[in-house]
Amino acid sequence: MRPPRGGGFRGRSDGGGGGRGRGGMKSGNRVVVQPHRHDGVFVAKGKEDALCTRNLVTGESVYGEKRVSVQNEDGTKVEYRVWNPFRSKLAAAILGGVDNIWITPGSRVLYLGAASGTTVSHVSDIVGPTGMVYAVEFSHRSGRDLVNMAKKRTNIIPIIEDARHPAKYRMLVGMVDVIFSDVAQPDQARILALNASYFLKNGGHFVISIKANCIDSTVPAEAVFAQVVKTLQVDQFKPSEQVTLEPFERDHACVVGGYRMPKKQKAAP
């Protein structure tokens, strides 16, 4: 005999939820959407603030995230998707206060370690229809989800290849403005350098998310980050800032910098 189940099932009726952290984001709340300091990123201010991006494909949720609909003065409706910093390293970096993410509307981004495409979809929202996202992912399971998502968003080019061998996808990718790397491999600095030598333009930028445990779990996290930064500097990279992703991830850091930056001309005395 099934005993009637009342209380324990509140979770069922909740559609998908905006992740573990955003408890205040219930459906039916009124929020105000304002642009963030970074171009293409927005903030939804209500009882609790949430980071969001403008939905490229209105009406669709990629991984069950909440959507916010706003009506403009001229009557058109704009939809935004809430960006969960617990699931996305880039959102965590933005909330951690990084100065410049270099991913702007219209830019071309090479995304290494795309996984199932949750953050890639937000990057695709930011760059908009004029920009381009080349998403590289080696795993077949995640690759399937990535390809399915890319079918709806035409500014994403899915590449199911190992990021260690950029020569294998050289005919699909053009020159890019930014490389975002979230591969979680011990040799990720070398992978980034190799890809940059193929595809990153001079004066381009990189954003790399470093997981200390992944590179060396015996050494303290600060030492790991310093080590990675040094490796990057050897390969013509110029790291400009580093933020920890602290409240959202443990022992993670995000390093942002430039590649083959043009040398500043010394002013003639």
Binding site: R2, R5, R12, M171, K201
Partner: protein
């Protein structure tokens, strides 16, 4: 020196105009900042476009493995005579050297050159703009991903979802059209609608007949059974419908053609759906059948989505409205959703449907995961699980039989007290025992009258039932039917039918006992009023009394013998105990 550059549109060979610049590797990038300076370093020698996406895909897949495709080899043979070729992949360079005897070079300078070329690609290759390149790149990447992920067009579940949607649509349309045919033709021959019940047969008859006057001369043996045919021919003669012109009949006939064509197509579509289900999800079909499996997939949107659901969700997929209503009002949740239409649940007894649906749902979830994520193609796992479930069903049935076949000493089963149960028999767990006077054994004096009473009772039962008895029997039936209706209602809400069944039995026993006592009271009253009895009746009574006495004595003897046997057993047991 020549440079081989691969693009999503095709292969390009550039000629390095100024080789001196290659020596200064660090400054090479400055040359490629503007297109004019780039043209000073390299210019396009030859460009070979891919004919179509298939060719592009095959060339690219070979390139990934560092092998030159046929088109590339031809291209190189045609344009690369006597010069060294710069390539981005050293393995590819080696392969080209082997097969075409063209010297290939790959070093830092080459990589810088490639960077520059990539930067200025659209300018250097005239006729290839940015807007051409990106859709080609997109198309090539999607084809390549599909090739990599071993995308097989056989295993696409979109076909199933569309097919089952179409099946439902077709059914609705078919019904609408068939009703229309009946209405329309009913203007001319209304009786036919009642004679021929089946829609397809109706359409065939109308198509064959046209005007009803033709009915007498035609042979309907392929379409209708004989008696229906005879009825039809009779009705055709005496029909009250109006005449219709040939043009109208033509249109009606065309509609009938449509109906028949649609029904044929529906049969074809059903076969197609079954074959697709067996290819895409063989284990799921083995467990629940094609139709239920297809509906489950369509409900969740894709096979992979269905695989992500736990067994408890699979059990109630399709009953969401009832589920959330029950959760909100704190009632019992539904026991089955779409899975109710599976054959395993259908063949279970009503009380066991809930249990079987739960077991079936858990095995179904396993089978779906196997189909969605494993690469195997056979249905052995599904068949094994089905056998397990069938054995389980038999075990459950056996248990049920054992319970209903008779309990120890005739006492009703005591159930656990559950204060949260919404509907129940209240505080009483076992029914109250009532006094049953008919089980009394009275002494001689009253024994005779008792025999008479019993004789009269039986006589009354043998003869036509008296109106009083009829009234009683009707009342009994009414009460029983009320109990049944309540029982059915309870089942539909989702209560445990077993407890209800037990309660029903208890109620019936109660009523029977009370009714028996009432009957005997009434008959006593009757006998008192009918004291003058005729001789014939007395003789009959005496004979019956004698017969009954004999029967009773035999029963008594049997009882006594049983008692004596029991006493002997008890004595034996006592002896054994003493011995121990």
């Amino acid at each position: 020196m020549l440079v081989l550059f691969e693009t999503p549109a095709g292969f390009a060979i550039f000629k390095v105009v100024d080789e001196g610049k290659l020596t200064k590797v660090e400054d090479l990038w400055k040359e490629f900042t503007t297109c004019e300076s780039a043209r000073q370093v390299v210019n396009l020698k030859a460009f070979q476009k891919f004919e179509n996406t298939a060719e592009a895909l095959s060339a690219t897949t070979l390139l990934i493995d560092s092998k030159p495709s046929k088109g590339l080899r031809k291209f190189l043979r045609a344009h690369c005579d006597g010069e060294t070729l710069a390539v981005s992949d050293s393995k590819l360079g080696n392969a080209i050297k082997e097969k075409l005897k063209i010297d290939c070079v790959h070093n830092n300078a080459v990589m810088e050159l490639m960077r520059g070329l990539r930067n200025q690609l659209t300018e250097l290759i005239s006729g290839l703009g940015v807007q051409d390149l990106s859709p080609m790149s997109l198309g090539l990447s999607h084809s390549l991903s599909r090739y990599k992920l071993k995308f097989s067009p056989d295993k696409v579940d979109t076909m199933i979802i569309q097919a089952i949607g179409l099946l439902d649509d077709l059914d609705k349309e078919l019904n609408t059209y068939a009703m229309r045919v009946r209405e329309w033709y009913g203007w001319h021959f209304p009786e036919l609608a009642k004679i021929v019940q089946d829609n397809i047969q109706y359409a065939k008859v109308v198509k064959l007949m046209g005007n009803r006057v033709n009915a007498v001369n035609l042979d309907f043996s392929e379409v209708l059974p004989e008696d229906t045919e005879a009825e039809l021919k009779e009705a055709a003669v005496i029909s009250m419908g109006t005449e219709v012109s040939d043009l109208d009949l033509l249109n009606i006939r065309e509609l009938c053609d449509q109906v028949l064509a649609l029904s044929e197509y529906r049969a074809q579509l059903y076969d197609y759906l079954r074959s697709r289900m067996n290819t895409i999800a063989p284990n799921l079909t083995a467990l629940v059948g094609e139709l239920v499996g297809a509906r489950l997939i369509a409900h969740t949107g894709s096979l992979l989505n269905l695989a992500k659901q736990p067994g408890s969700t699979v059990q109630i997929l399709g009953a969401e409205k009832a589920l959330f209503r029950a959760l909100k009002t704190k009632h019992a949740t539904p026991k089955y959703g779409l899975i109710f239409h599976a054959s395993l649940v259908g063949q279970a007894a009503p009380k066991l449907k809930g249990r079987i649906s739960r077991s079936l749902a858990s095995k179904t979830a396993l089978a779906v995961r196997y189909d969605a994520l494993c690469d195997n193609q056979d249905n052995t796992m599904g068949l094994e699980n089905r056998l397990k479930l069938e054995t389980r069903l038999r075990v459950l049935e056996g248990r049920e039989l054992g319970r209903s076949a008779g309990l120890k000493r005739g006492k009703p089963m005591i159930e656990a007290y559950d204060k949260d149960r919404k509907k129940g028999s209240g505080a009483l767990i076992t029914p109250a025992k009532t006094y049953n006077p008919s089980a009394d054994m009275l002494l001689e004096q009253n024994g005779a009258s008792n025999e008479e009473n019993t004789a009269k009772k039986r006589k009354h039962e043998d003869e036509e039932p008296k109106p009083a008895e009829e009234v009683e029997k009707w009342k009994k039936k009414k009460r029983e039917s009320e109990v049944e209706i309540n029982g059915v209602k309870n089942e539909s809400v989702g209560f445990d039918a077993e407890s209800e069944g037990r309660e029903k039995k208890e109620k019936r026993k109660k009523k029977k006992k009370t009714e028996a006592s009432m009957e005997s009271d009434e008959q006593n009253a009757q006998e008192i009023s009918n004291e003058h009895v005729s001789k014939e009746d007395k003789k009959k009574k005496k004979k019956q009394a004698e017969v009954e006495e004999v029967v009773r004595r035999e029963a008594e003897e049997q009882e006594e013998s049983e008692k004596s046997i029991k006493k002997e057993k008890k004595k034996k047991k006592k002896k054994k105990k003493k011995e121990k």
